[in-house]
């Protein structure tokens, strides 16, 4: 069934052509002095300097544009690094050496003098064929050596994505972990009165840029989740007052109803190979977990019983599914094999454990926890050990993982007072529980889902 309220095409949104080559990396990288231990909870952010990228243009009329882009790229890179909580970008006005270009070694004492440990030197060049070339080097100021360098070629409108890739390359070189800046977030944008909220699907870059609304808000939209290739979103729409799971194609803007069932379908998620969607289906008031093969459209029931079984989430290897069930009384987290066999309860704490979401690394399951009138976001290992709470508020709900499994985004709701509906906001926190921050959205927002890396 086609959805009549699809927005205009988002053609090309996720199919950027970017050439990236490792650039001038020394054959034998010397031992780096500059490393970031992201597991250390008492870690101090590393001071880094990200001067404006120098501008060149093979087409003279585009030089001013490149100068602006050089400023903007440095700004995006610095902001990404800062938001990770692992880096402290130094103010541009503290910089002594000016006019840096990647082709020349920087004057290291000038950077040491202001306390910079890492220095990013880049350039942007408008090419005769209309594309841009962006390149950068990351310097270890104390070791006085290059740590990494990459060159990218793309169309000028992709500059922001290139900046995120530069930040990812820096993050990866300094932490040893993959970055997560070249990613998007799909979420539910909220507006209107509390008794009749308008909820629209929206998508943006992880830093809040390039916001686009995917639905008009004629129907409630809830719980969007990315497909593994980031091209599709599965979510719950109240289209025609029938709450059902849909797949939204970001490339074409088309929507498809996933199966035509009597009861409500909800809480969908893709399997890691993208060939299946696991979800809850309600029959005669009872909710169980089902899985649909997207090629054959055949559906198979995975859980059975008079209890609420919902919020299924695959392990990244596709072997297991975590879900919540109130079969033991209140909600608790269970893990089963992907065929529904071998169900084991893994949460045993006093409160209620809900919405398990398996980390892309496979090592942890994030969840929503409630007890005594507060909501928390926590993590535990897939065997239920190592439980840790990361946040707490009136309402923290719906965790989603950055693709590197180091950062969790969720939504935070505030109490309604005096008839005014409480705000809903997106927040992120890293695995140590530090670096709790609001994710910028233009209005109220909930139900975030983080995309995989857009490579």
């Amino acid at each position: 069934m086609a959805h009549p309220h699809t927005s205009s095409r988002l053609a090309g949104l996720l199919c950027l052509v970017i050439l990236a080559v490792a650039w001038l990396v020394p054959a034998h990288p010397a031992r780096a002095n500059l490393v970031v231990d992201i597991n250390n909870p008492t870690f101090e952010p590393i001071p880094v300097a990200v001067p404006s990228f120098s501008a060149q243009s093979q087409v003279p009329s585009r030089l001013a544009e490149m100068t602006q882009m050089g400023d903007d790229i440095a700004g995006v890179v610095a902001a990404d690094l800062e938001r990770s909580g692992l880096f402290r970008p130094l103010p541009q006005k503290s910089f002594v050496e000016q006019g840096l270009v990647p082709e020349r070694r920087p004057r290291f004492p000038d950077w040491k003098a202001i306390g910079a440990q890492g220095l990013v030197v880049g350039s942007v060049n408008f090419l005769a064929d209309g594309r841009i070339e962006v390149l950068f080097r990351l310097w270890d100021v104390y070791g006085q050596q290059q740590m990494t360098g990459v060159k990218y070629e793309t169309t000028p409108d992709n500059w922001r994505q290139i900046a995120h890739r530069v930040a990812d390359a820096i993050y990866q070189r300094l932490t040893g972990e993959e970055g997560y800046f070249d990613t998007r977030v799909v979420f539910v944008a909220e507006s209107g009165p509390g008794t009749n909220r308008v909820k629209r699907l929206a998508i943006m870059d992880q830093d809040g840029a390039n916001l686009k609304y995917l639905t008009k808000g004629d129907f409630l939209a809830l719980t969007p989740r990315f497909s593994p290739n980031s091209q599709e979103i599965t979510y719950l729409s109240y289209f025609n007052n029938k709450p059902r799971v849909y797949i939204y194609d970001l490339e074409t803007g088309r929507q498809e109803l996933l199966g035509d069932f009597q009861g409500m379908t909800f809480a969908p998620r893709f399997s890691p190979d993208g060939n299946q969607v696991v979800m809850s289906m309600e029959k005669n008031g009872n909710s169980d977990i089902y899985i649909m093969d997207l090629r054959t459209r055949k559906i198979r029931q995975l859980t059975d019983g008079p209890d609420i079984d919902t919020a299924p989430s695959f392990s990244p290897d596709g072997q297991f599914i975590a879900f919540e069930s109130d079969r033991g009384g209140g909600q608790q987290i269970y893990v089963m094999r992907a065929d529904g066999s071998n169900v084991k309860r893994i949460s045993f704490g006093k409160g209620r454990y809900k919405t398990p979401v398996w980390s892309p690394r496979g090592d942890l399951i994030a969840f929503t926890y409630t007890s005594g009138g507060v909501f928390k976001i926590g993590v535990m290992r897939p065997d239920g050990t190592g439980e840790r709470m990361l946040t707490e508020s009136f309402l923290d709900e719906g965790p989603t993982w950055a693709p590197n499994g180091r950062v969790i985004m969720f939504f935070r709701g505030y109490p309604s007072r005096g008839g005014h509906v409480g705000k809903d906001e997106l927040w992120s926190v890293d695995l140590t529980g530090r670096n709790l921050r609001r994710v910028p959205t233009p209005g109220d927002a909930s139900d975030p889902a983080w995309s995989p890396l857009l490579r």
Binding site: G194, N196, E282, I308, F394, E397, G413
Partner: protein, 174 residues
């Protein structure tokens, strides 16, 4: 809770309802479906001094005036208490009076649960009312259900009074 225990609870509640219904007949109070929560919202059942006849026969307004359209639930619960059953009995009476009318029962929750669970809980609440109406002889083909989870509160507020009003079923004439 096992389904057996649930059934037992249902039977006990049904017995209690009969007793209460018997009491109400003796009362001089007009039949009203006034909900237990303290704050009346603007679209709650009209007061009894309003003449029923002013509503179009078979309309939503008439259902509200003669039976009441809302029943309420305890926290994280979908069982029907005596008051809910009394309202549903009047709804069944109304549906027998208008055999061509169908209804949608909307199941709603307060804001203190997670989104997915509340969708499932709202479905349970709507189904509870539907099953009860069917047990009173209403054809189940005339009763549709939908869950709104915590998406459509009746009252905006983060306190027990508001939550109690939001944990509800609303019967809507189609």
């Amino acid at each position: 809770m096992s389904s057996h225990a649930l059934r037992m609870k249902f039977i006990v509640l049904a017995a209690a309802t009969l007793a209460i219904a018997a009491c109400e007949k003796k009362s001089e109070q007009p039949i009203s479906s006034a909900p237990p929560p303290p704050q009346q919202s603007s679209n709650a059942a009209p007061q009894a001094n309003v003449n029923e006849q002013m509503y179009a026969p078979g309309s939503q307004e008439e259902l509200e005036a003669t039976a009441g359209s809302r029943i309420y639930f305890a926290y994280d619960d979908y069982s029907l208490d005596a008051r809910a059953q009394a309202t549903l009995q009047k709804q069944a009476e109304w549906m027998r009076k208008y055999p061509n009318k169908s209804v949608v029962i909307e199941g709603h929750c307060d804001e203190r649960g997670t989104r997915e669970y509340n969708l499932a809980l709202g479905a349970r609440r709507a189904e509870s009312a539907k099953r009860y109406l069917v047990s009173l002889g209403i054809d189940e083909g005339r009763i549709n259900t939908i869950s709104y989870g915590k998406e459509r509160p009746e009252v905006v507020g983060s306190n027990e009074a508001a939550w109690a009003q939001n944990r509800r079923d609303v019967t809507v004439v189609q």
